[in-house]
């Protein structure tokens, strides 16, 4: 089995856990790709879209979430279920979604802040929900083969990301890949174009979570 997403959880620099799986390229992502390959005009030359993958974000929603603590404070107050566009119970997004006609996965189900406060969605304007591409260690692009692209993100709790008061641990169970059209600050429900939910990972203050997201054209 080939995997196209890999999550590496390190504690105090040591690898504690590695997860691998297949992401879901959601409808938004398929539409984006169909636009990316063409021009809307040749006079002047104008692409239909020019945005590309630039961020990743984490959440505590998704079918993979199995930790009951996410339904209690401070998670239930800072990241309450039901705020997503489909008004879910917070445990429903999966590769098989939509679970109801016309509903699609277009955001994380219960996104979490990388830095910022703890107020309920939509949070504060300065809250950061996505990896910061201006920090070279937080988001990178690489080609392991000429026909693939790998996007790498790093969430570093040792410098106060994700795990900060009142969140003494973070319990991510979903991740999204976002383009440069997403807002870096102040918007928890940016549109994503690829999604993956996984069994809960418990991050502490000494944790680092590294995610490799590979897109291969074979």
């Amino acid at each position: 089995v080939k995997h196209n997403i890999k999550l590496v959880h390190r504690v105090d620099g040591q690898v504690l856990d590695v997860r691998q799986g297949h992401n879901v390229w959601v409808d938004v992502g398929r539409t984006w790709l169909s636009k990316l390959i063409c021009y809307s005009s040749f006079d002047p030359v104008t692409p239909e879209t020019s945005v590309r993958p630039l961020h990743m974000g984490l959440g505590v929603g998704g079918l993979g979430q199995s930790d009951v603590r996410v339904d209690s404070p401070p998670f239930s107050t800072g990241y309450p279920a039901g705020a997503d566009p489909n008004g879910t119970d917070g445990h429903q997004y999966d590769r098989e979604y939509p679970i109801k006609p016309g509903a699609v996965v277009s955001t994380l189900e219960r996104p979490v802040r990388i830095t910022g406060g703890s107020t309920a969605y939509p949070g504060a304007p300065g809250d950061r929900w996505l990896t910061d591409h201006t920090n070279a260690t937080r988001f990178q692009v690489m080609h392991r083969t000429s026909m693939s692209a790998t996007f790498r993100a790093l969430f570093d709790c040792t410098v106060g990301e994700l795990v900060y008061a009142p969140f003494t641990v973070m319990l991510p169970s979903e991740v999204g890949l976002f383009t440069s059209a997403a807002d870096l600050l102040g918007n928890p429900y940016c549109e994503l174009f690829a999604y993956y939910t996984f069994d809960t990972i418990e991050l502490g203050a000494t944790s680092q979570l590294e995610i490799y997201w590979r897109v291969e054209f074979n």
């Binding site: 790709l33 169909s34 063409c38 692409p47 440069s180 054209f217 074979n218």
Partner: protein, 213 residues
């Protein structure tokens, strides 16, 4: 082409030959997305620099080109004789073999490209020759995940004097970095088809659909 098990990119090709608006011949097929295309799209989706945001590859689909190569050339007598592909001393303007198949992703060019407009000299032709033609813009999206590139080769395209009947049998899809005045550009997708003989009485519409499934 598949993006693992999540996104499948399928291509479909339709060629329609018309005479005064009436369909006289049609070919439907599944073309192949070449390795060059797979490498192109892997670069296209990436930034190479985040500040300022700089795309690693910014050329999109812009051209189509046709040829008389490929294994499905059914009129070798025409393709290999004067004025198209034969006769000494020059060997003809479009001389070549017909061994290329549309199941081989390593294809890197049309086997025997023909000019859309220009002269009649042998490869590589002369300045001013046009070897590929621009597709229509905007592209057609019949659904949100389908992109169709359309080019209508007019009556005067390809089959101009001295080429009264050109037995077309291959077609390629090219990105904007291709040079229209260069005869062997690298396509991203390719197809061979049973010969369609293009004359100045016919226009040829090519509809190339890429489906993101």
């Amino acid at each position: 082409m598949r993006i693992f098990d999540n996104v499948e990119v399928r291509q479909n090709l339709r060629l329609i030959m018309r005479e005064r608006g009436k369909i006289v011949a049609r070919r439907d097929g599944h073309n192949i997305f070449l390795n060059t295309g797979r490498e192109w799209i892997a670069r296209l989706i990436c930034y190479s620099l985040f500040s300022p945001l700089t795309a690693e590859e910014d050329s999109r689909v812009r051209y189509m080109g046709v040829g008389i190569g490929g294994t499905r050339q059914l009129a070798p007598g025409v393709a290999n004789s004067s004025p198209i592909g034969g006769d000494p001393p020059t060997g003809g303007p479009y001389v070549g073999t017909n061994v290329q198949v549309d199941t081989d992703p390593t294809v890197t060019r049309l086997e025997r490209p023909v000019r859309v407009s220009g002269g009649s000299t042998a490869y590589p032709g002369v300045g001013g020759d046009r070897w590929v033609a621009q597709v229509q813009a905007p592209a057609v999206h019949d659904t949100a995940v389908d992109t169709t590139f359309v080019r209508v080769f007019s009556e005067a395209d390809v089959s101009y004097p001295p080429f009264l009947s050109v037995p077309l049998s291959e077609v390629g899809l090219f990105i904007a970095s291709a040079d229209p005045e260069h005869y062997d550009n690298v396509p991203i997708a390719y197809d061979c088809f049973d010969t369609l003989s293009k004359t100045s009485a016919f226009e040829l519409e090519v509809r190339w659909t890429i489906h993101i499934g």
